[in-house]
Symmetry: C2
Subunit: 210 residues, 2 copies
DNA sequence: GGTTGTGAATACTTTCACAGCG
DNA sequence: CGCTGTGAAAGTATTCACAACC
């Protein structure tokens, strides 16, 4: 029943969930979710059909039920631990970002290799040295590691995370890291996002829907 | 000749460019670019074929020529101005991020609507009030606006940017903004990225190549 | 009337595989 | 012999369109 969900769908589920979270109405239609998420209703229905979510024809989907199904699908049954490696500009900003906690994550630790930074407190977290990574969560394979480090450090930090048992990494460093293929790395490159916009400007063409 | 380049390809071009930038060898093969970017050689060749880039069979591509073709394709012929709206945690971190300048962008202004923040200096930029947006760059339609503001403010900030003439927006606020369709908005939602990783953890499946 | 659920059609992207050339 | 260039095939994602149902 719950075979395989396309990554593009999962990304939209995240958006639907945050729409449902700020909502009181007991039911919601695919059309409304579409409007608010910048998608279209057929897409919303197809996305929800992957979860086996059942709506009521003529009415829509039960808000509470949808919320709970999406949360389960996104693996948010319990708060998921996240560690942040790199307490520089970006790492610090991420540690202070209130959106993570609100959306199902719990920051379990902040790490840095610079002795000047270790021991300082950022957003209520004492910055820990890299070797404390191995003991920070008891099931690192179910946690997520965020890398907010310079490009030069990315490969070795990735290796440390893998060694400590992490299997999911969000990489903000503008470089590709090579890891064994049981490890999932999602790159987020800010300059790449700007390059995409810049490319369209250079071609002065009209936007597509996304 | 230079008809239309898939967005997925543009994203990879950005990566290829940063690989070429740290490089001295006068030529490079599709296979080497593939290795370093976590792609495969057929993909690289197809990507480069969209640009009309000509390699030499048996040898590879000329590094300098490729660099210059990719830069032109990404609209980086001249440094592209970028403004950052929101001088909170994230906006400040972005303003300090050295990667933007290194990769073809020039931060032209930092804006905030809080009187407490306006006038302070961040990374060499004096934070300006929102109404200065209209005069900060002379061709706002060729510039990029970055929104690093809370979800509640996102819609109205987007409207201010559009009114000031911006046509390309990178949106870090965790919400969808509705704008006229000459305006291109690229969302970057950090919680969504974590949700995607979390989903895979819940299904404890093996990663795909990306 | 309004809205879901979904097969079929379309569009887009990646991978394959091999001829062509230096 | 090595590496490019590319059509064809396979794989993925989105949109259409309409029957089924409340």
């Amino acid at each position: 029943m719950e075979s395989r969900i396309p990554t593009a769908t999962v990304a939209r589920l995240s958006k639907y969930l945050s729409i449902l979270d700020g909502r009181q109405d007991p039911s919601v239609s695919s059309n409304e979710l579409a409007q608010r998420s910048g998608s279209n209703s057929a897409q919303v229905r197809k996305d929800l059909s992957y979860l086996g979510a059942a709506g009521t024809r003529g009415v829509g989907y039960e808000t509470e039920m949808l919320r709970s199904i999406i949360r389960r699908t996104l693996g948010l049954a319990t708060e998921r631990p996240v560690v942040i490696v790199g307490a520089g500009n970006l790492g610090t900003a991420l540690a202070r970002y209130p959106g993570f906690a609100r959306r199902g994550f719990c920051i379990s630790g902040l790490f840095d290799d610079s002795p000047a930074v270790v021991g300082t407190t950022v957003a209520g977290h004492v910055v820990q040295p890299m070797d404390a990574l191995t003991t920070v969560v008891d099931q690192p394979d179910l946690a997520i590691g965020i890398m907010a480090v310079p490009a030069e450090a990315a490969q070795s930090v990735a290796e440390l995370l893998v060694e400590a048992g992490f299997r999911s990494i969000l990489n903000f460093a503008p470089t590709t890291v090579r890891v064994s293929d049981e490890v999932r790395v999602r790159p987020v490159d800010l300059a790449t996002e700007l390059h995409i916009l810049s490319h369209h400007l250079a071609r002065q063409d009209r936007p597509e829907t996304r």
